[in-house]
Amino acid sequence: MTQQPWFTVRARRVPVSFRVDKRVVPVLAIVLLATVILMTLNIGVGEYPIAPLDVLKTVFGLPTGNTDHSFIVNTLRLPRMLVAALVGLALGISGTIMQGITRNSLADPGIIGVSAGASFVAVTLIVVVKDVPSGVLPLAAFAGAALVALLIYMLAWRKGDSPIRLLLVGIGIASIAGALTTLMITFGDINDVQRALIWLTGSVYGRSWEELLPLLPWIAIFVPLALLLARDLNALNLGEDVANGLGSRVVMKRGVLLFAAVALAGSSVAAAGTIGFVGLIAPHLARRLVGPLHEGALPVAGMLGAFIVVASDLVGRTILAPIELPCGLITAVVGAPFFIALLIQSRNR
């Protein structure tokens, strides 16, 4: 018998068994390590530079000889890093789900209008209501995302839904939401508009525990949910008919997966604005590294997403210091050529 490409785990007493592609564990470990390293570095960078070792000490509550460290790290920078990482995780997984459901590798939560809806609501709030209390913005943004998702599903569904229609209707809604957002931008007070635009671009600037805490439940619920449905995503990825034939309750599973993808995308937008391309690139990279089976691709894509956002934030903070470029801009600038290179490579295989 030829060598299997996966590890099999079978417990003896408890009826549990599963398999994991051999590539997944090392890749996951490496990316996790890299992300943690970057996070540590990123926390250390800034107006008050802190050595990486001191950063680690402060996080774990060990004394470093400088009482300021605790404040800077734990109150200012750590929550910001955690938001960046979790947003990246959410976007990576959301993008993987979308690409799996629609069987289209250009699908991304940003393209299908979910981010556009969230942005529109948020921008409207910022421009129309002065001094929006910061707890309200994430909720409103998520409501916008959910509304768009509902609209998309309702409009695209027509006696047997089609992933293509889902995508295209999403693009249509994104255009409408975009036009309405432009309306807000055109007529608002210029300072409000600039704040709104910054928010729109996607940034973790100034994100604190206030933005982190509301994000946690979404991550805690929907990331594990997505992982549990990995096998269904595999089935869906083979085509609706094949998935049906294999006994997957396609309509229900697809609905749940879509909901999870929207929830993750919406809560990310709520926390950090629209950070583009993460949901587009991370799945591609993940599939390239560990293959298209989602038991491995989902966690790896999530981890890669976290890495990308943290790295982009680090670059944004250091490249034009002391000016801080929003990480959403960096992901776009770096993401695009990277993505094109990926596509070109895959064509030549």
């Binding site: 695209a156 975009g178 432009t182 055109t186 671009t201």
Partner: protein
């Protein structure tokens, strides 16, 4: 397979509308009616606005201009240029969209959806931000550059991977590029508040506040583009049957595609330079027109031009009336009308 069903839908679209080939006499009559309608709507748009002006006064302003009459001044300096811009831009964008749909055999093609307008807009914003271009008149050049680069990028992106440039992949590539380029644009606007102030009205897509001078600068491109488009009508009809069929009929598809792309870039780029990015005209108008004319592009193109002009004029009037006396930029109006239409199109025309 996912990518082929979109093209099936469009060829079904072509097939069902082709059955209604109207006699030439009817089509010519239709054109004449269209022109008359256009003039009437132009009058309407000149008469309506924050200050209502009678049609008589409008005619006087044109034929018996009195320098000291404020109404005449408004008409000459504001309203007529505005109407002229709307006509030119509406016609150009509609024709550009029609050509794109025929070229790519994609019923969902439009310079807006495929990112070409966003690219043109980015070209302008970048020019303002980095080169401190003050006058709108230089916008055209950078709009062209942006439009051309984006068109090339969309086509390339959409051709990668299995199956070549299918309609779905090109639409997706367009959406991806739109997202990318608009985030660049937003980025530039954030970094430079002065740029933001200068361009944000323009960015919404508006025919207001454009003087005849600016239109004059862009007009040659638009006129050349429109004439070239009409001349290509028959060739595009052949191409819309399919690459292989067209080649079999002896057409030089490579040259035609290149030429058509240049025409689209001219029309879309110049339009964006004058009026900012206005979306959905190129999407909606050709569909409405094809329902009447069938799929012969010798007719689709001129009809699109006239209908597009009328549509944009009406959208502009609507934008002036809806929230009087505030004016909604016409780009928002077209999106509010065109967006739902696009979704309707997808819902009812795209099968599995």
């Amino acid at each position: 397979m996912a990518s082929t069903t979109l093209s099936v839908a469009s060829s079904k679209l072509n097939a069902s509308t082709a059955r209604r080939t109207r006699p030439t006499a009817v089509l010519l009559l239709g054109l004449a009616v269209g022109v008359v309608l256009l003039v009437a709507v132009m009058m309407l748009s000149i008469a309506f606005g924050a200050a209502d002006i009678s049609v008589q006064a409008v005619l006087n302003a044109v034929f018996a201009f009195d320098e000291n009459n404020t109404q005449h001044l408004i008409i000459q300096t504001l309203r007529i240029p505005r109407a002229a811009v709307a006509v030119m831009v509406g016609a150009s964008l509609a024709v550009a969209g029609a050509i794109m749909q025929g070229l790519t055999r994609n019923p969902l093609a439009d310079p807006g959806i495929l990112g070409i307008e966003t690219g043109a807009a980015l070209g302008v914003v970048a020019a303002v931000a980095f080169l401190h271009i003050g006058s709108l008149s230089l916008y055209a050049l950078f709009a062209f550059a942006g439009a051309a680069l984006t068109a090339a990028a969309v086509y390339t992106l959409g051709s990668l991977g299995r199956g070549g440039p299918t309609p779905l992949k090109i639409t997706m590539a367009g959406a991806a590029l739109t997202a990318l380029l608009s985030s660049f644009t937003t980025g530039l606007l954030i970094l430079n508040q002065r740029t933001l102030e200068e361009v944000r009205f323009w960015l919404a897509g508006s025919v207001a506040g454009r003087d005849l001078d600016l239109l004059g600068q862009a007009a040659p491109y638009l006129v050349i583009g429109l004439i070239a488009a009409m001349a290509l009508g028959r060739q595009i009809t052949t191409l819309s049957l399919g690459d292989d069929i067209a080649k079999g009929l002896g057409q030089n598809t490579v040259w035609l595609k290149l030429l058509s792309a240049i025409v689209v870039v001219l029309l879309a780029g110049a339009s964006v330079a004058v009026a900012g990015p206005i979306g959905f005209i190129g999407l909606v108008i050709p569909h409405a027109v094809r329902a009447f004319t069938g799929v012969d592009y010798r007719w689709v193109l001129p009809y699109s031009a006239i209908t597009g002009a009328i549509f944009l004029l009406l959208a502009d009037v609507a934008g002036r009336l809806v929230l009087r006396p505030t004016e909604l930029p016409v780009g928002v109006m077209t999106a509010l009308i065109g967006g739902p239409f696009f979704i309707w199109l997808v819902r009812w025309r795209v099968k599995r």
